[in-house]
């Protein structure tokens, strides 16, 4: 019984077929955390009977990679999921079969072979709509003022050093600020990816603090994932 602890299915499978999926995470699904999304997607593949390739180490796990995490509560239809499969499939077929097994709010829009490396992701564009304790117009003006400051210093928690003061001003690229239907609408580009990532909530917290605004309702949507040169990643 010495083979007791050896996991089964250990024959090496080196051949893998890589795909890049563009998916949306909206509605109720936007409250699925990043970690839970991993598990959720794995089960979607299982239900769709599309076997995922497993990593071939001591602790094999399904190869699924989300190159850019999406904050909890943010809507998006431009998310990226890289996956390695055991068999080659037609892209449309993968899409149809997965979509038939998706929970509400998750949807695949595109399946293709990956072209760019996922490390190319450098920035992302967001639309942030909100109501606050001031009028939509006033909030818009204040946001413009906020984005025009010389310095925007925030406290950022790091793993090692504790709390760091960081100036995020150079990273904020305000595309537009408008007011409509009693809501302020901000279009903004922020750094994203494995090098440096700036969360919309950090920006909005800094805005509220510096401009003395209190937000009631907020709706954030990621609208684009881009490379360094501004080119669309997908």
């Amino acid at each position: 019984m010495a083979d007791f602890l050896v996991p089964k299915n250990q024959s090496l499978v080196l051949e893998r077929f890589d795909y890049r999926l563009t998916y949306g995470k909206t509605g109720r699904a936007k409250y699925i955390s990043h970690l839970d999304l991993m598990r959720t997607m794995q089960r979607v593949f299982k239900r769709a009977k599309i076997p995922i390739w497993y990593t071939q180490g001591f602790n094999p796990h399904a190869y699924l990679n989300f190159p850019l995490a999406l904050s909890l509560g943010t809507d998006s239809t431009v998310e990226v999921l890289d996956v390695a499969l055991l068999e080659e499939h037609d892209s449309d077929e993968i899409m149809t079969r997965l979509n038939a097994c998706m929970p509400e709010g998750l949807h695949i829009y595109k399946v293709a072979k990956p072209v760019l490396k996922h490390t190319e992701i450098a920035q992302a564009e967001y639309t942030i709509k909100f109501n606050s304790n001031t009028s939509a117009d006033e909030a818009k003006t204040r946001f413009e003022h906020f984005a025009g400051r010389d310095k925007i210093e925030i406290e950022k928690r790091t793993k090692k050093k504790g709390i760091n003061i960081v100036d995020i001003k150079p990273h904020i690229n305000l595309v537009s600020a408008t007011a409509s239907d009693n809501m302020t609408v901000i279009d903004i580009i922020l750094p994203a990816g494995c090098q440096f990532n700036l969360n919309t909530s950090l920006v909005m917290d800094a805005f509220c603090k510096l401009e003395s605004v209190e937000i009631d309702n907020i709706y954030t949507t990621r609208t684009k994932i881009m490379c360094k040169n501004g080119e669309d990643f997908i």
Binding site: M1, L5, P7, G27, Y31, D36, R43, R47, G73, P103
Partner: protein, 612 residues
């Protein structure tokens, strides 16, 4: 409403628990629905979503086209606070509609410590917690599950209880309602009809009289349609019983996050402390083909990579080896892990171990429950030391090095010698490890002893027994710690106050309703969670309501005392329980159902495999 909920979600932990939308959750068109049922699990999502009974009854009710059953859980304290601050009433996860819009609100009562959550959930929904304050026909508040075998401490809060297995009677109650609804009956009129259904208990239709010493004098129906004794429901043809063809698959990880298939119901063993062993009688099984088909169906629909066989004792399945062979054929192909949570020491064969060996395991868990053979005979846990040692030997040779041993303290007839027996048994297991050849055994032996305080429960042979007092238990815990000499043995004891409260509630009567209400008003909810359990507030509540804890927990009942649940019939006869109680005090064992019928009172017609 949805807007309001969504804005709060980001302020809470694990928000996906509060918004629904999981794969397998059932959405129906409200305009085509005649009966809406809110299935409430009175604990947090993570616990409730793990519960098999809810999955079964959810699927069952939704299998009827014009019924819509939705799920409701108790929010964590942080979200409850947010809901109250923002005037969001408790809502169901599918439609996000408040509970007030439902025809039925059904609670499953799995453990006593969830009782205050029932009140909290009703109140959070804006529904009066006491049945007498709910004048309209709907919502009708009903309860079921194991604790419904003595629902008296909750009698004030419920309109009706369902006794026994729910697969048939739930639909009967709903269909009665569907039929009566067009005539706009009063609640009273509906309940009067419902009480005629076997297994339905309407507490308001019974009067309870008490003796001067505080014991119950008599429980009598106060209307004609209520039977003198309400009989629990039972599924006679268990192989044909409804089983869902899909589960709701949660996003967030929950306690039991896997596919589950029920293989048998009831237990042949008759351990005298175990309520489940008596109230779920008789022992019935599903056929191998049925189990296999249900396994395949659930795995395919959920996408789970692990399936677990559910029962009170899986190794008692008559053709367990054939069953596993047949299942492994499928699970191996699909790379699904098969887990068997409820195995018994005495029939844990090498062959069985071999079958599940591919599942990665960290340790083995045994529940000898008592430290000496004499005491194991008292409780009728017919496991011998040899069997435990034999299994441990196999396990050690198989590379296991972690053994967990579960015991109870405060059992009837227990002496300090029995406590020492616990330490000795653990020591023997440690010694056995060192006798195992080095090249075979795993590294780093660890034996963990876990003890809980015995809680006497209704419908068991120990329903007459007093619970050991707090001081007795303290002394026994102390003695156990002193008896352990090896550093390889770890010992932990379950919080005692919890067991005292369980003992009071488990065998309580209607006079506890006010105490539960008061405790909840003082802020007791989520009592099952150590971080929320406030024994001090419970004591205050008992004190204010004039409840003497020792009357309920530490008092021996005579065999002829009218017990608060004596108007409820769980098929196991009073005579049998008395007989078993007497045998326990003589340390005599009773054979299991497979070895021969011991005449517990459950009739052959109930479909039991071994009933004679």
């Amino acid at each position: 409403m949805r807007e309001k909920i969504e804005q709060l979600l980001l302020k809470t932990q694990k928000p996906s628990r509060y918004i629904g939308g999981e794969h397998g959750s059932i959405i129906k068109d409200k305009s085509k629905i005649d009966v809406r049922f809110a299935f409430c699990f009175p604990d947090v999502y993570d616990v409730g979503m793990s519960h098999l009974g809810m999955k079964i009854l959810y699927g069952l009710k939704n299998s009827v086209e014009n019924y819509w059953c939705e799920r409701v859980f108790m929010p964590e304290k942080d979200f409850e606070k947010l809901m109250r601050e923002n005037d969001i009433p408790l809502y169901a996860l599918e439609s996000l509609d408040p509970l007030t819009e439902f025809d039925f609100i059904g609670f499953t009562l799995q453990y006593e410590l969830s009782y205050t959550n029932v009140l909290a959930m009703l109140d959070l929904a804006g529904i009066p917690v006491r049945a007498k304050d709910r004048h309209d026909l709907t919502p009708i508040v009903m309860g079921g599950g194991p604790c419904a075998c003595n629902p008296e401490p909750l009698a004030d809060f419920f309109d009706l209880f369902i006794l026994g297995e729910g697969e048939e009677v739930n639909l009967e109650v709903l269909s009665l309602y569907e039929k009566m609804k067009p005539n706009n009956p009063t609640k009273q009129e509906f309940l009067r009809e419902a009480a005629k259904i076997e297994g339905v208990y309407v507490p308001a239709f019974y009067d309870v009289d008490y003796n001067t010493d505080g014991t119950v004098k008599a429980i009598t129906p106060n209307i004609d349609s209520a039977p003198a004794k309400v009989k629990k429901r039972i599924i006679k043809d268990f192989d044909k019983v409804y089983y869902p063809d899909g589960f709701v698959v949660p996003f967030t990880s929950i306690v039991h996050d896997r596919a589950v298939v029920e293989v048998l119901r009831g237990c042949i063993r008759g351990c005298r402390f175990c309520q489940a062993g008596f109230i779920y009688r008789p022992f019935r099984e599903k056929n191998i083909d049925t189990i296999k088909a249900e396994t395949k169906c659930i795995c395919e629909q959920t996408g789970y990579e692990e399936v677990s066989l559910s029962s009170l004792s899986t190794s008692d399945y008559t053709r367990i080896n054939d069953l596993l062979e047949s299942l492994v054929e499928y699970t191996d192909d699909e790379r699904i892990n098969l887990s068997l949570p409820s195995l018994r020491v005495d029939n844990f064969s090498e062959e069985l171990l071999e079958k599940i060996k591919s599942v990665r395991k960290s340790g083995l868990t045994f529940a000898p429950e008592a430290g000496t053979q004499k005491l194991r005979n008292v409780i009728n846990k017919n496991v011998t030391e040899d069997e435990i040692m034999h299994t441990c030997k196999m396990a050690f040779e198989g590379g296991y090095a972690n053994v967990k041993l579960y015991f109870m303290l405060g059992l009837p007839e227990e002496t300090m010698e029995d406590i020492e027996g616990i330490a000795k048994l653990a020591q023997d297991v440690v010694d056995l490890y060192y006798e195992t050849p080095k090249e075979k055994r795993g590294r780093g032996i660890q034996v963990s002893i876990s003890t809980a305080t015995f809680v006497p429960k209704p419908f068991t042979p120990f329903e007459f027994e007093p619970q050991a007092t707090s001081n007795e238990i303290k002394a026994k815990q102390q003695h156990l710690f002193e008896s352990i000499t090896s550093k390889k043995i770890k010992c932990s004891c379950h919080q005692q106050n919890v067991s005292i409260l369980e003992a009071v509630l488990a065998r309580g009567d209607r006079r506890l309703c006010d105490a539960i209400y008061t405790a909840w008003k003082k802020g007791c909810t989520l009592d099952g969670w150590d971080e929320h359990f406030r024994y001090d507030l419970w004591l205050e509540a008992f004190d204010e309501c004039g409840v003497d804890i020792s009357f309920y927990a530490n008092r021996r009942r005579s065999y002829d005392e009218v017990l608060p649940w004596s108007h409820l019939d769980y098929l196991v006869s009073h005579e049998f329980l008395v007989r078993e109680n007497k045998k326990a005090h003589n340390a005599e064992t009773t054979r299991n159902c497979k070895e021969g019928c011991s005449g517990c009172g459950v009739k052959k017609e109930c479909g039991g495999v071994y009933c004679g």
